[in-house]
């Protein structure tokens, strides 16, 4: 699974960036020097691992909040919407 996220920092410090880059599967993109929002990707084995890494990100000192831009499932098929109780099964 590959997820695309934005991490918004309270203040952009090297310590925070080091902590984020040390998380498993995390890759940090490039942005303007002054920007407090980091583009990152997470490459994880499964949804649980992804959730765990995201939670760790949120708990990193200096991280204000984390937004998910998208999550790509390698085996993705169209999500099946459960419409059994609606129409056409």
């Amino acid at each position: 699974m590959i997820a695309s996220l934005i991490v918004t920092l309270d203040a952009k410090t090297q310590d925070t960036i080091d902590q984020i880059s040390g998380l498993p599967g995390v890759e940090i993109g490039t942005v303007n020097q002054d920007a407090a929002r980091l583009p990152i990707t997470i490459d994880s084995a499964d949804p649980n691992a992804l959730e765990e890494i995201t939670r760790s990100l949120q708990e990193c000192p200096g991280v204000a909040f984390v937004d998910v831009v998208f999550v790509h499932f390698e085996e993705a098929r169209h999500a099946r919407l459960k419409t059994e109780n609606c129409f056409n099964g």
Partner: protein
């Protein structure tokens, strides 16, 4: 990823591509650059054609660049030329193109045949609808939404009020922003915000009143948080009943009880007067005072003096407000100090929290009142601004007037002069328009679900672009009887035009497959009075067709049958459109519908109405060139200029020179706005021993409204797969609930078994729970209350008493 099996080379390359796309998307959002995001996990091969369109989802009105290749939408990017979003999109916006390509798109008209459906031709479908209308035109109702484009809503409006002389047309927007409308009307005499999104770029203080823009209008919210990240000082205050993502970004969170907002507004006004910090000059020059007329309840109330206003506010000391609202007295003082400081620029935002409220008209008026009393109005950064949830709630519902009492351009059916104006524009015979307002949403569905011999006088409803089987409150009263009381409602007939099967199509008698978004032309109006246009880019699937065409085709079938209402004064078809040769084009035949631009024709006809209440629109072609224009759009020196701040000299061309501020549609006809006093009143239902929790419902970032589109987008569906009961850890522990446990939630109206999420996306306080409404498998509106605001007729979805019980596995 499967770590046990090595990936083949092409899979690795594909994976690298996806990862690069993921990083591009994140970089685009983080840096505001214009990267395009391939939305279908499909590598671009040939040249992609790019065209502009507003996003299909919320009322923010972000513009997207839509990439089309081989007759299919393959990419979406934020539009850097759009003032609203400046190249940014939220997670829903980036995936909007995928909404077209769910596997279960409706592609054929389907007629109920017992417990199943059979495919029928469009011709049979149109005739079936015409039969129902012809048999009893007065028992027919049209139910739409702020997802109707402006031309679609206008056509439906003209068909009903100008054709059938029937005012039973109302939108889903009744459930979402009707109280904002009545709040604006009661205060300024005319609807819609005076300010605009530019206020967010310059305000010093932003107050969210029961509003969660971080999830519901994320691009707008990012305009403010970006300012902070650039080092600007802006104070964010969240007044709410539960912690949300918005709270996380705010310096102050003021947690209130339901209806606490009314006490807070009165508390601020009380202190402004007591401390002498209200703006005396602004008030004396531009405002009157009003209070409810209890003997003759009406939207415009009764006049009171400043001294009476002051006296009525006297009980609302900070300490008393703390008792009523739960917000600390010191925080009320803080708010009053901020409003009392003329150096600060203050913007207020609200949405469903203040609108879905049995005193919605009152609280809307009261927040306007706080801004007027303190003079925080009419200059950049000083604005009370309501937001909308649907892409054209403003454009189609509020401006076109697709409400049971309204006519286009801010006119009303009850006014003889307004009816006469509309009849002139429509070229229909005098007295064609019925002067009696039709049924508002709740009354319409209540009548439909009541047997005819018990007074249920709505026999047929045609639903377009909305999903009432999921969004109506108290579904067991207002929708589900179609199934549960089938034997007594056999003569009732439900027609649903939609793009996917929904909770509403489930009970439909006739289902019509519709085109959506860039499968058709469109014009919409967003929350800041911005009108936006786009062209059709791809064909709809199968036999899906435009909603507007469907209405026109039915109208023409009735015209062919000789129904007088479908003829104008000259006996011509009500929707006659001439081609370049000045001859009528048979637009009721699908193969000829796009021979002319029907949208342009309808828009230009509608535009005449827009000038009646200074909501002037520019010619259609001006919108083709622009990323939207904010009305009034007035031609000056050969240029069509938009208006950023209404009623304010120097910005609004209709304000007379030297007036500074002029409320030129004042209900008191003296160019003044009304500052209202309303007493605090308890919610319609409050927790008690039997039902000890307050249930709040709402939306989540990943899904738009009922999820009928976003749940078919794999990335969004996986990110937020299903509904949940949000509960705090203390309450969960008290009921022995853990994450993932099932809970039975019961109200006086229905029950629901739903998984528990402890302190989930939001964090409700003790005694409050939250359930989102996007999941059609977990219909929270089986539980909600259908109590209404007395003026807007909008229900309260935020305060229903419930009880909870753990369901043993």
């Amino acid at each position: 990823m499967d770590n046990d099996q090595p990936l083949p080379l092409d899979a690795i390359q594909r994976r690298q591509f996806i990862k690069a796309s993921a990083m591009a998307a994140a970089t685009a959002v983080a840096g505001g650059t214009g990267f395009s995001l391939p939305i279908l996990a499909q590598e671009p091969k040939d040249r992609i054609e790019w065209e502009k369109a507003p996003c299909r989802f919320c009322g923010t009105g972000c513009h997207v660049q839509v990439g089309v290749q081989g007759g299919k939408v393959v990419a979406v990017a934020g539009d850097q030329n759009a003032e609203v979003n400046k190249g940014l999109l939220c997670v829903k916006g980036y995936h909007v193109g995928s909404a077209l390509y769910g596997e279960d798109r409706l592609t054929k008209p389907l007629l109920r045949d017992g417990d199943s459906y059979r495919e029928i031709s469009w011709d049979e479908a149109i005739k079936t609808i015409a039969d129902r209308i012809e048999a009893a035109p007065e028992r027919f109702a049209f139910y739409g939404s702020g997802q109707w484009t402006i031309p679609e809503g206008y056509a439906a409006q003209k068909f009903m009020k100008g054709g059938l002389a029937n005012n039973h047309i109302d939108p889903n927007a009744r459930l979402c922003m009707a109280s904002a409308v009545t709040g604006f009307l009661a205060t300024y005499g005319v609807d819609e915000p005076a300010g605009c999104y530019d206020d967010l770029d310059v305000c010093d203080v932003l107050i969210m009143w029961g509003n969660n823009p971080a999830e519901m209008h994320p691009v707008l919210f990012s305009r403010v948080t970006d300012r902070r990240s650039r080092g600007e000082k802006v104070l964010l205050i969240d007044i709410g009943t539960r912690r949300t993502r918005t709270t996380d970004a705010c310096q102050h969170y003021l947690e209130m009880k339901g209806h606490g907002d009314m006490a807070i507004a009165n508390g601020i006004a009380h202190l402004l007067i007591k401390n002498g910090t209200y703006d005396r000059k602004f008030v004396e020059s531009h405002c009157n005072f009003k209070a409810p007329d209890d003997e003759n309840p009406n939207l415009h109330g009764k006049p009171i003096t400043f001294d009476e206003y002051k006296r009525q506010l006297e009980p609302y000391t900070p300490e008393h407000v703390e008792e009523l609202s739960g917000v600390l007295a010191d925080d009320i003082r803080m708010l009053a100090e901020l409003f009392g400081n003329p150096e600060l620029k203050i913007t207020s935002l609200w949405c469903m929290g203040m609108n879905q409220h049995t005193r919605g008209t009152a609280i809307n008026s009261m927040v306007h009142g706080v801004h007027l009393l303190s003079g925080h109005f009419g200059t950049p950064g000083n604005a009370p601004t309501s937001l909308t949830g649907q892409p054209s709630a403003c454009g189609t519902v509020r401006e076109v007037g697709t409400l049971a009492h309204a006519l286009p351009g801010g006119r009303v059916v009850a006014d003889a002069e307004h009816r006469q104006q509309a009849e002139e524009f429509w070229n229909v015979p005098e007295n064609r328009i019925n002067p009696i307002p039709g049924y508002h949403t709740v009354k319409m569905w209540e009548s439909f679900c009541t047997p005819t011999d018990e007074g249920g006088d709505i026999g047929t409803i045609w639903v377009q672009v909305t999903n009432p089987g999921q969004t109506l409150p108290n579904l067991n009263k207002l929708f589900n009887p179609k199934e549960s009381n089938k034997a007594n409602l056999e003569d009732k007939f439900l027609i649903v035009s939609d793009v996917y099967p929904t909770a509403t199509t489930r009970l439909a008698d006739l289902i019509l497959p519709s085109a959506m978004w860039v499968e058709k032309n469109g014009v919409v109006g967003n929350s800041e009075r911005r009108t936006q246009q786009w062209f059709k880019m791809v064909d709809p699937p199968g036999d899906a067709r435009d909603d507007c065409w469907q209405a026109i085709a039915v109208a023409h079938e009735l015209f062919e049958r000789g129904m007088d209402g479908m003829k104008d004064r000259d006996d011509r078809f009500l929707f006659e459109v001439n081609g370049e040769d000045d001859q009528p084009v048979p637009i009721w035949e699908w193969e000829h519908y796009y021979d002319v631009n029907v949208d342009k024709h309808l828009f230009e006809e509608y535009r005449q109405f827009s000038r009646m209440k200074h909501k002037d629109l520019a010619p259609y072609d001006e919108y083709v060139k622009a990323r939207g224009l904010r009305w009034p759009v007035v031609e000056q020196d050969g240029e069509w200029n938009e208006t950023l701040w209404r009623f304010s000299e120097g910005y609004d061309p209709y304000v007379k020179q030297g007036e500074d501020i002029q409320f030129y549609h004042s209900s008191t006809h003296d160019d003044r706005a009304q500052i209202w006093f309303h007493p605090w009143i308890a919610p319609a239902e409050v927790p008690d021993d039997e039902y000890p929790f307050m249930l709040c419902t709402g939306r989540v970032l990943e899904h738009w409204h009922t999820g009928s589109m976003t749940r078919r987008i794999p990335e969004l569906s996986r990110a937020m797969p299903g509904g949940y009961l949000e509960i705090c850890a203390e309450d969960a522990a008290a009921y022995g609930l853990r994450n993932g446990d099932k809970a039975l939630v019961e109200s006086r109206r229905g029950s629901l078994v739903i998984p528990v999420w402890i302190d989930g996306r939001g964090q409700p306080p003790r005694g409050t729970v939250f359930i989102p409404f996007f999941d059609e498998m977990l219909l929270v509106n089986d539980l909600t209350l259908d109590a209404l605001d007395p003026f807007s007729k909008q229900p309260d979805y935020k305060k229903s008493a419930v009880r909870i019980e753990k369901v043993s596995s």
